[in-house]
C-alpha cells in the first residue's frame, strides 16, 4: 500500500463523500424542483398571456364593440330624417344634402358612443356623396378621441378626422390636422366599409351584429399607425343598407390595454396583437410592453406553430400565441384569426430558474469549499504537530536524550514519550560504547556528516587525532568540517580512504581515515596506525640493510640499480665499483673477530658518508662492498669516484693495542654504458677488474679491460 500523508488520508475520502452527496442532492433538486420551476415559468407566462387575451377579448367584444343598441338609435334617426324629408332610403346614395342632414343628426350620438365605449375612433359612413362639388368621397363623420380612458365632458379631446366642417363648428369640435370633408375608400383595402356593407346587403339576418367586421386600417388622424376597427352595416327596418358605422381602437390604446403587467416581467415581457395570415404567419398590428427589444421584435418572423424564435446574435424568444375569439362560429364575415402573442426572451423568462440554478451551484460550491476547508483544517491540525515533532526529532542530537514538545494529542504525546525514553537508552548506550572505546586505548574516532541537513557529529577524540587542535568536537559546525576536510585533503576529501602523517603529542603519528557514503550520510572512522607503520618500516629496513654496517645489502642494491636503469634518463654515465678489504683474515686471526668487524665498519662508514644523490653503496658479503655512482659526464662521475677512493684510503680504525691503522682496499671499476648496459654484466665486469687488482697489486684500483676480459673467457 502506498504511503500517504495524514492530510490526504483524511481529505480524499471525505471530499469524495461530500462531493458525491452534493451531486446526488443536486440531481434530486434538479429533477424535482428546478425542472418544475422551469415548467412553472412557462405555465405562468402562458397564463399571463391568457389572462391578457381574456381581458382584451372581453374589452373588444364586450365594451368597445358594444354598439348594437346605438345602431338601432342611429338607424332610427336616419329613418326620422327620411320621413321628415319624405324621401326613400335609396336617396342617400345620391343626395349630399340629405346625407349632410343625416350626419348632423348622427354626429352627436356617435361622439357619445366613442366617449362611452372608451374607443379612440368612431365613424358613420353613408353610401352616398358628401358634398355637391366634392371629390366623390362618401359622406361620413369620423371622430378621433385622444382620451379613451376618460369621459371627456368638454369634447376637447375629440377631433374631427372626416366630415363636414359645419358639424364641427356646431359642436365646437376641432378639426384634426388630417381632416377631410369626405371619406375616400378603396375597395381592395377598406374592408371596414365594404365587408359589412355587402354582407348586410346580401344577408337575410336582421341582427346586424352578425355582420360585425374586425379589420385593420391606417389611422385617420394622420398618424403612421394602425387602428383596429369594428364595423356594422346600418340596416334600416326595410332592410335597406344605407351605410356603415363602427368604432376603432388605436394601436396605442390596444397596447395600453394589453400591458397591465406589474412586477418582474413588466420590463422584459412584450405582447403583440396580430392578425394571422392563411399561411400561419402573423401580421403584427401593435406591440405592447416595455421590453427593451420592442423595436427588435418588429423584425421577428412570427408564426402560430413555433413557440420559440431564434434571432441573429443567439437571442432566443419564447412566444405564446393565443387566439381571440372575435367572431362567432357561423359569422358570415370572417377576417382571419386574431391573436395575442406574448413574447419574452428565454433568458428573462427563465430568469428565476437560471438564478435558482446559480444559487444551487453556488450553495453546492460553498458547501464543498466549506467541507474541503474544514477537512484541510482538521488534517492540518493533526499533521502539523506531527510534522513539527518530526522536525524537532530530525534536528535533535542522537547522542543525547530527546525531549519533544507536547502536541496535546494523546497518541502523539505517548509516541513522543516513547521516543524520548528510547533516545535516552540509545544515548546511554552510545556513551557506553564511547567509554568502552576510550577504555580500550584503541585510538579510534568517528564522524557522521550529512551535508544536505548541515549536520556533523564527531566523536570526542576526532579533532585531536586529525590534528585540528584549534577546535573541539562540540564547537565544530558542518560547514567548518567541510572546509577543514577540503583544505586538508583537497578536492577529493570525501573519497574512501586517506592515510596521513600528523604531529601528535608524542611526535609523528600515522592516521588512516576510512569513509563510507550511505544515502545522504557520510560516515568516517579515523584510526591511529602509527605502530603498524613503524613495524612495517622496521621490517623493510631489516630486509634491505646489512645489520653490521647499516649499508644496503646486496638485494636492495641490485633492486636500486635495476630501478635506476629503468629510468635511463637519470643515468647518462655511471660506474660500478667493486671493493674488497685487504687483509681482513689477518686482522681476524691476529686481533679477533671484533677487530675484523671494526675494520669492516670503518670502510662502511666511509662509504655511507659518501652516499649522495649520485652515489650509493652496499655490503655484498664479508669484506666485499659495491658502489654505484652516476652523473651527466664521465668526468663528473670520475670526480665522485676519486673522492670516495681518497676518503677510503684515508680512513683509519683503532686496533685493540691502541694503534690507529689505515684501511687497505682494492677496487674494480666498470663503466656504464661504455662497457655494458646490463647491470649483471656491469657487476661482473667490475668484479673482473677487482679480481685483476687482487691478483696484481693489492690496495690499488683498476678499470675493467674488455680485451683482457675477452682473453680470459
Amino acid at each position: 500500500m502506498k504511503t500517504k500523508s495524514i492530510l490526504r488520508k483524511i481529505f480524499v475520502p471525505f471530499s469524495a463523500m461530500v462531493a458525491g452527496m452534493l451531486v446526488v442532492f443536486f440531481i434530486i433538486e434538479y429533477l424535482c424542483s428546478l425542472t418544475e420551476l422551469k415548467n412553472n415559468s412557462v405555465y405562468l407566462f402562458e397564463e399571463s398571456v391568457s389572462t391578457r387575451r381574456d381581458f382584451l377579448e372581453s374589452k373588444l367584444t364586450g365594451q368597445w364593440s358594444e354598439i348594437i343598441t346605438t345602431t338601432e338609435k342611429l338607424t332610427g334617426e336616419i329613418e326620422d330624417v327620411l320621413e321628415e324629408e319624405q324621401v326613400s332610403a335609396s336617396r342617400t346614395a345620391s343626395d349630399d344634402r340629405l346625407n349632410q342632414k343625416i350626419l348632423e343628426r348622427l354626429a352627436d350620438p356617435l361622439v357619445e358612443i366613442v366617449k362611452w365605449n372608451g374607443t379612440t375612433d368612431g365613424f358613420v359612413i353613408l353610401n352616398g356623396p358628401a358634398a355637391a362639388n366634392g371629390s366623390g368621397g362618401l359622406a361620413s363623420v369620423y371622430v378621433v378621441n385622444d382620451s379613451p380612458n376618460h369621459y371627456d365632458r368638454s369634447n376637447s379631446s375629440i377631433q374631427y378626422a372626416r366630415g363636414s366642417a359645419s358639424i364641427s363648428k356646431k359642436m365646437k369640435i376641432p378639426l384634426a390636422s388630417s381632416w377631410k370633408a369626405d371619406m375616400e375608400l378603396d375597395k381592395a383595402k377598406d374592408d371596414f366599409f365594404f365587408l359589412p356593407y355587402e354582407a348586410g346587403q346580401n344577408g337575410a339576418d336582421t341582427d346586424i351584429s352578425a355582420y360585425g367586421t374586425w379589420s385593420i386600417a391606417e389611422s385617420m388622424n394622420g398618424q403612421d399607425k394602425k387602428v383596429l376597427l369594428y364595423s356594422v352595416p346600418l340596416i334600416l327596418s326595410d332592410k335597406t343598407v344605407v351605410g356603415v358605422m363602427g368604432i376603432g381602437i388605436s394601436a396605442d390604446c390596444l397596447s395600453e390595454n394589453i400591458q397591465m403587467e406589474s412586477g418582474e416581467h413588466s420590463l422584459t415581457r412584450s405582447y403583440m396583437f396580430a392578425q394571422a395570415g392563411e399561411d400561419g404567419s402573423m401580421v403584427p398590428v401593435v406591440f405592447s410592453g416595455q421590453g427593451e427589444n420592442v423595436r427588435e421584435l418588429k423584425e421577428l418572423p412570427f408564426s402560430i406553430e413555433e413557440d420559440t424564435i431564434t434571432v441573429e446574435g443567439g437571442n432566443k424568444f419564447y412566444t405564446s400565441a393565443q387566439n381571440l375569439a372575435l367572431y362567432s362560429a357561423n359569422s358570415p364575415v370572417q377576417t382571419g384569426s386574431w391573436y395575442l402573442v406574448g413574447i419574452e426572451k428565454q433568458s428573462d423568462l427563465f430568469a428565476v430558474y437560471n438564478r435558482s440554478m446559480w444559487v444551487q451551484f453556488l450553495l453546492m460550491a460553498f458547501a464543498m469549499l466549506c467541507c474541503f476547508g474544514s477537512v484541510l483544517l482538521v488534517g492540518k491540525k493533526l499533521s502539523d504537530p506531527i510534522r513539527k515533532m518530526m522536525d524537532e526529532l530530525r534536528a535533535s542530537d542522537p547522542n543525547r536524550s530527546i525531549h519533544l514538545h507536547k502536541t496535546h494529542i494523546s497518541e502523539m504525546d505517548e509516541l513522543a514519550d516513547s521516543i524520548g525514553s528510547l533516545s535516552d537508552r540509545v544515548a546511554k548506550a552510545n556513551s557506553k560504547l564511547s567509554q568502552i572505546i576510550h577504555m580500550s586505548d584503541a585510538k579510534i574516532s568517528v564522524f557522521e556528516y550529512k551535508q544536505s541537513e548541515n549536520m556533523i557529529y564527531v566523536s570526542p577524540e576526532f579533532c585531536a587525532m586529525i590534528g585540528w587542535t584549534d577546535t573541539s568536537p562540540e564547537s565544530i559546525t558542518a560547514a567548518d568540517f567541510r572546509e577543514r576536510m577540503i583544505s586538508k585533503f583537497g578536492e577529493e576529501a570525501f573519497v574512501k580512504e586517506h592515510i596521513f602523517e600528523t604531529n601528535g603529542d608524542t611526535g609523528s603519528c600515522w592516521m588512516r581515515l576510512t569513509q563510507k557514503q550511505e544515502d545522504n550520510v557520510l560516515l568516517g572512522v579515523l584510526v591511529d596506525i602509527t605502530r603498524e607503520v613503524q613495524e612495517k618500516m622496521r621490517v623493510e629496513y631489516e630486509r634491505d640493510n646489512d645489520s653490521l654496517t647499516g649499508l644496503m645489502n646486496r638485494r636492495a642494491f641490485e633492486r636500486n640499480i635495476i630501478e635506476l636503469f629503468a629510468r635511463t634518463e637519470k643515468v647518462a654515465v655511471g660506474v660500478f665499483l667493486a671493493w674488497d678489504l685487504d687483509n681482513l683474515k689477518h686482522f681476524n686471526d691476529t686481533y679477533g673477530h671484533n677487530t675484523g668487524d671494526d675494520y669492516i665498519i670503518a670502510l662502511a662508514g666511509c662509504l655511507k658518508m659518501n652516499n649522495s644523490s649520485h652515489t650509493f653503496s652496499a655490503r655484498r658479503s664479508g669484506d666485499e662492498f659495491v658502489t654505484f655512482a652516476y652523473g651527466d659526464t664521465k668526468e663528473e662521475v670520475m670526480a665522485y669516484v676519486e673522492k670516495i677512493w681518497e676518503d677510503a684510503r684515508a680512513t683509519q680504525f683503532l686496533l685493540p693495542d691502541g694503534q690507529m691503522r689505515r684501511i687497505q682496499i682494492s677496487m674494480g671499476m666498470a663503466w656504464y654504458p661504455e662497457h655494458t648496459k646490463d647491470p649483471e654484466e656491469l657487476a661482473a665486469y667490475a668484479d673482473f677488474a677487482l679480481y685483476q687488482v687482487k691478483h696484481g697489486t693489492k690496495g690499488t684500483s683498476a678499470v675493467f679491460d674488455p680485451e683482457l676480459y675477452k682473453g680470459k673467457q
Partner: protein, 456 residues
C-alpha cells in the same frame, strides 16, 4: 497567521456571495423595482401624438434603464385636467387618485399648489439645472417663498398666419400690402376692406382672445391687471379698453373678424377666414388645402408673419409656458417623475418634441432651428420656427403675472372678447345703418363696465 487571515477572508466573501445571490430571488436589482409614473395631459391630435412618442421613447430607453414606466393619458382640456386634479386633491367623492404628473398652465397649477399637494420642483433641481431653463415665467411667489410648481416643458408665443393664396387676389385689387398687417389698426382696416371686397366674409380671427387684451394692455403701458404683493390689482382703464374695443371688439361685431369653429385654424381650413393669430403650437393644424362648404377644395399656401402690434408701440408678444406639475407622493415616485421631466426637457428630446408641435424649447441656448433641417419638411413649419424665433429674440415677451385668481381673471377677459361679443354681433346684424354707430357707442360703455365688474 497570514494564511489563516486570508482563509477567513475568503470564507467570509463566499458566505456573503451566497447570501446575496440567494437573497436576490425576489427583489433583486433595480431593474425589477419598476416605478410607474402616471401623467394626465390635455394634449390632443398632433401634440398628443408627439407626446406619446416621447413617452414611448423614454420608456424604451431611459425608463428602461432607471426602472421607470411612464403612462400618459389624455384627460380632456386644460381646465378639465385642473378640475380633475383639484377634485382629486380635495378627495371629493368619486374623484380619482391624483396622477404623478399633470400638464397645466401656471394659472391652473397655482391653486393646486396652494393646497399643498404639489412638489416644489426647486427641491429636486439644482441651482445649475434651474439656471438652464428660460427664467421667470414659471416661478410663483407662494407662501413658502419663490416656488416652482411647474416644470416648464415647452414654450410658445403667438404669430400671424395668412392664407397667402387667397390673400393675393384681394391684395392686388385693394392695394393692401403685408405691411398693413403689422399693426392692429392696419389689420382692422384691411379686414374691413376685405369684408367689403369679398361680400361679407371675415378676414381674421384669433385664438385665446384674452391674450389680445393682456398683451395689448401691457404694450400700451396700461396693464389690465398687475401684481402687487402677490395680489392682482385691476388697473384696466378706459383709454386702453377703447383701443381694444376699436381694434378687436368692433371689427368682430361688424363681422370683419370671426370665430366659427373650435380653433381659428379650423376656420382657415374651411375657408371662413384667411388669416388668424394663433399659438405657434397650432402650426400643424394650418391647412394646405381649403375645403369649402360645398366640398370644393383648393390648395393654398400659408405665410407666417409676426404678431401685429398697436401703432407706435414696442413689439410685444405673449410667452406662454406649458408645463407639468408633479404631485406629492413618496420620494421614489417624485424622483421618477422629475427624472422623466428632466429627460423630456433635455435638448435632444425637447427639440424633437418642439419640431413636431410648434413649441419652442424651454432651455436657454437650445435652439429649435438647430434640429430643423432633417425633421421639418413643410414650409410653414419652417417659417413658423424662423418667425417665432425672431419674435422671441426681438420682442418683449409678456408672461401674465400669476396670482391666486388669475384663471378667473383670464376667463372674464376671454368671455369679454368672445362670448359677449357674439351677442353684440347678433344684435348688430339686425340694425339699420343709422342705428349702428349709436349701438356701438352704447355697447362699448356697457361692455367695458361689464368687464370691469367681472374683473373685480
Amino acid at each position: 497567521m497570514k494564511l489563516k487571515q486570508t482563509g477567513r477572508r475568503v470564507i467570509c466573501l463566499l458566505l456573503a456571495a451566497v447570501i446575496c445571490t440567494s437573497g436576490c430571488g425576489k427583489q433583486g436589482t433595480g431593474k425589477n423595482e419598476n416605478v410607474t409614473v402616471s401623467i394626465w395631459h390635455y394634449y390632443s391630435g398632433q401634440q398628443a401624438q408627439a407626446f406619446e412618442e416621447a413617452v414611448s421613447e423614454f420608456n424604451e430607453t431611459k425608463g428602461q434603464e432607471e426602472g421607470i414606466t411612464v403612462k400618459a393619458e389624455s384627460r380632456g382640456d386644460v381646465n378639465e385636467v385642473a378640475e380633475l386634479v383639484t377634485a382629486a386633491a380635495e378627495k371629493k367623492e368619486g374623484s380619482e387618485e391624483m396622477p404623478d404628473i399633470f400638464t397645466a398652465y401656471m394659472d391652473t397649477a397655482v391653486p393646486v399648489y396652494d393646497m399643498g399637494v404639489l412638489v416644489n420642483l426647486k427641491d429636486y433641481l439644482s441651482e445649475d439645472e434651474l439656471s438652464d431653463y428660460v427664467p421667470g415665467f414659471l416661478e410663483y411667489a407662494g407662501s413658502d417663498g419663490m416656488a416652482l410648481p411647474i416644470m416648464p416643458v415647452a414654450k410658445s408665443t403667438e404669430l400671424f398666419y395668412l392664407n397667402k393664396t387667397d390673400w393675393e387676389p384681394f391684395a392686388s385689387e385693394s392695394g393692401c400690402t403685408l405691411d398693413d398687417l403689422t399693426t392692429w389698426e392696419g389689420l382692422a382696416h384691411t379686414a374691413e376692406l376685405y369684408y367689403e371686397w369679398s361680400g361679407g366674409k371675415s378676414f381674421f380671427g384669433r385664438d385665446a382672445a384674452a391674450n389680445f387684451m393682456l398683451v395689448g394692455s401691457h404694450q400700451l403701458g396700461k396693464d389690465v391687471f398687475s401684481l402687487e404683493n402677490g395680489k392682482a390689482v385691476v388697473t384696466a382703464d378706459d383709454e386702453m379698453l377703447k383701443k381694444v374695443w376699436d381694434c378687436y371688439a368692433q371689427p368682430y361685431i361688424k363681422g370683419y373678424y370671426s370665430a366659427y369653429g373650435k380653433f381659428r385654424s379650423d376656420d382657415m381650413k374651411t375657408g371662413d377666414l384667411i388669416s388668424c393669430v394663433a399659438s405657434t403650437a397650432s402650426v400643424s393644424y394650418l391647412p394646405s388645402e381649403v375645403t369649402n362648404e360645398d366640398g370644393q377644395t383648393h390648395e393654398i399656401e400659408c405665410l407666417v408673419l409676426p404678431l401685429p402690434n398697436f401703432e407706435n408701440t414696442q413689439a410685444c408678444a405673449v410667452q406662454q409656458g406649458a408645463g407639468m406639475s408633479v404631485t406629492k407622493s413618496d420620494e421614489t415616485r417624485e424622483k421618477a417623475a422629475v427624472e422623466f421631466l428632466k429627460w423630456f426637457t433635455d435638448a435632444a428630446q425637447n427639440v424633437s418634441y418642439c419640431l413636431k408641435t410648434g413649441y419652442f424649447p424651454v432651455k436657454r441656448n437650445v435652439n429649435v432651428n438647430d434640429g430643423k433641417e432633417e425633421s421639418s419638411d413643410s414650409d410653414v413649419v419652417s417659417q413658423n420656427f424662423t418667425v417665432g424665433q425672431e419674435t422671441i429674440n426681438n420682442s418683449e415677451m409678456y408672461a401674465a403675472p400669476v396670482v391666486e385668481n388669475s384663471r378667473t381673471l383670464r376667463y372674464a377677459i376671454e368671455d369679454a372678447l368672445s362670448v359677449n361679443l357674439e351677442s353684440y354681433r347678433e344684435q348688430y346684424g339686425t340694425l339699420s345703418e343709422e342705428e349702428k354707430q349709436a349701438f356701438l357707442d352704447n355697447s362699448f360703455k356697457e361692455w367695458s363696465k361689464a368687464l370691469k365688474d367681472a374683473l373685480k
